[in-house]
Symmetry: C2
Subunit: 345 residues, 2 copies
DNA sequence: TTGAAAGCGCTAACAC
DNA sequence: GTGTTAGCGCTTTCAA
């Protein structure tokens, strides 16, 4: 291949017999140029197969036409649907999307944010790894409230006044619990993940429904799984069911935990819903196959709206835009994994 | 927030009382500086909370510390596992990863490649949308053989001499078919996707196994689904089974097609494996739950090796590295979805 | 070891 | 409508 130099706008200008500025105006599609000049530049571009250098452009115009999505993991349907929606919107605007995973580690998240600041992405969609019980150094807060446009998705951080788009977790959880209570369940076990804001809201909704139905709330019926793996959720579920054989329904707050639970139920040959009822957050492909009742979050819509909002923030140079917290309603998809607790007896 | 200017290396240099060059050397960790100067610069960095501007750095050093993954879709476990592996390796090296989806449209792929050239990513992991029967304009070939380091993954393009890391599709398909043949199946239906190189190889393996077992190959037993959706695969499967009721086993070449097939089988109340045997490429979570026998590709390993290879290409400025085509072996995971065809009668 | 100066490729400001 | 010039923030010669 030999020595090689990229074609630059200067080459184009020279060939077209115009100034670099005019060539730039044509290629970058700004300012105004005469038809004739435009034609000649375009011809030169074609002939040289000129590809504009976006880094140089970015350095000058302070925009990289790139946004980032920061998520815990990419290996679950929920995040994947989010990324899908974000990328789709981004593509419409000619933006690319950078993907950053935190493994739900807030330190990694901060490192990413710092990095993204340096890389000068134009904005960030953030599904934060922040946990409600986690202590966050005050000096870190600056990462969340800096100049870089950020839209929070799914989870929020209390005290950080920025845009949030998420599900209406409390209501949906209230209704789901009510659905179970109305069937006659009184001992409803929760399999939860770490203490994200969403999980808190869902547990609040569960509690409220219990209280309103005058069913006693039992702290012990909440099992937490810190690691989102099949192995872990299976183990926790196993232990939980050993300790609480009187539980008649399982309410799983995150689909990543579901297959582990199903594996344990399969092992102990418990049939759904005859032996135990099941209700799960988020919809996976296999939920339909297995007839599992789920709460489906409008994650694609959340991603879409978040990205649109992000572009508003990016476009507007004024810092005066008010932030807002938007809540979209999940849908309870009733299938066949829940029945009244006596049914099986 | 008022007027605002980013802190630059000049600010750091000024505060530290050294030249911009020296400050740069400390921050960028190159060249040599005295301990004393280093300390003072670091102190200044801390005090000003200086964040280096990667675009400026990139413009100068011709490296963005970013690689891209180009895939058909992000909404399936296979691609997701690939992205996971790539991002993991990239993170180790301090690289970020850009994600580009093509929706299996070769035009979009080329557009992405062009874009990535402009964005000056350091390299690309490419799961190409190229179809064996697709005509590709010769002028497009340049995108695949340019200066930009590319490692092909899963699928390859004949005639493009670049690195490829993929599964040993032929062998694995041969063995899987043999497994079915040994059980006594003679009418094995294939549900395939578009004509990617992988699909071709798998069909070749299937044919070879048939031939070796002296079972007649019937072209009509290959159903192709062009769109990777539940709806579509369900529809195609439905039609296929109507037309070929004598089929005793279904061999599905892509997991994205599986749930559609399962949905159709469920509708017609066909039990697996009593009424029909099932063997599927790629492993999904629900395959274990549903006891479906699958061919598991080492996609995480493929992603890992591809990324490592990509970094070799990036690191080496010589253009002399030989390309290679590496094939990793999938594993046949035998569960309970296949049985001999008479079993059910 | 350090500094001065050049320049990566582009766009924005200003003149004409 | 067009060209000239400056400069985005950094790294990389080159000389000292």
């Amino acid at each position: 291949m030999g020595e090689y130099r990229d074609i630059t706008i200067d080459d184009v200008a020279r060939l077209a017999g115009v100034s670099r500025a005019t060539a730039g105006r044509v290629v970058g599609n700004y300012g105004s140029v005469s038809e004739k000049a435009k034609e000649r530049v375009l011809e030169a571009v074609k002939q040289l197969d000129y590809q504009p250098n976006f880094i140089a452009r970015g350095l000058r115009s302070q925009s990289t036409k790139t946004i980032a999505v920061v998520i815990g993991s990419i290996r679950n349907t929920y995040s994947t649907a989010l990324v899908y929606a974000v990328e789709k919107e981004a593509q419409k605007k000619g933006y690319n999307v950078l993907i950053c995973t935190t493994h739900e580690d807030i330190e990694k998240e901060l490192k990413h944010l710092k990095d993204l600041n340096s890389k000068k992405v134009d904005g960030v969609i953030l599904m934060s790894a922040y946990r409600a019980d986690g202590s966050m150094d005050d000096k870190y807060r600056e990462f969340y409230i800096g100049k870089l446009p950020i839209v929070f998705v799914d989870r929020n951080i209390p005290g950080i006044n920025r845009d949030v788009i998420q599900s209406e977790n409390f209501d949906a959880s209230y209704k789901a619990t009510q659905y179970l209570l109305n069937m006659g369940h009184k001992r409803i076990g929760i399999i939860a993940t770490s203490n994200f804001s969403t999980v808190q809201e869902r547990i609040k909704g569960y509690k409220a429904a219990l209280t309103d139905a005058k069913v006693e709330f039992d702290e012990a019926l909440i099992a937490s799984v810190d690691e989102l793996s099949d192995k872990m959720s299976r183990k926790i579920c196993h232990k939980f069911l050993e300790e609480h054989p009187d539980v008649t329904a399982l309410y799983i707050l995150n689909n990543s935990l579901c297959s582990g639970v199903l594996l344990d139920l399969k092992e102990r040959q418990m049939k759904i819903p005859q032996d135990i009822s099941l209700l799960v957050w988020d919809d996976e492909e296999y939920n339909e196959l297995l007839d599992i009742t789920t709460i489906e979050q409008p994650i694609t819509e959340i991603g879409k709206q978040a990205t649109k909002r992000l572009f508003e923030l990016i476009g507007d140079s004024e810092e005066t835009i008010d932030y807002e917290c938007k809540k979209l309603n999940p849908e309870l998809i009733i299938r066949k994994s829940c029945t009244s607790p006596n049914q099986g007896k």
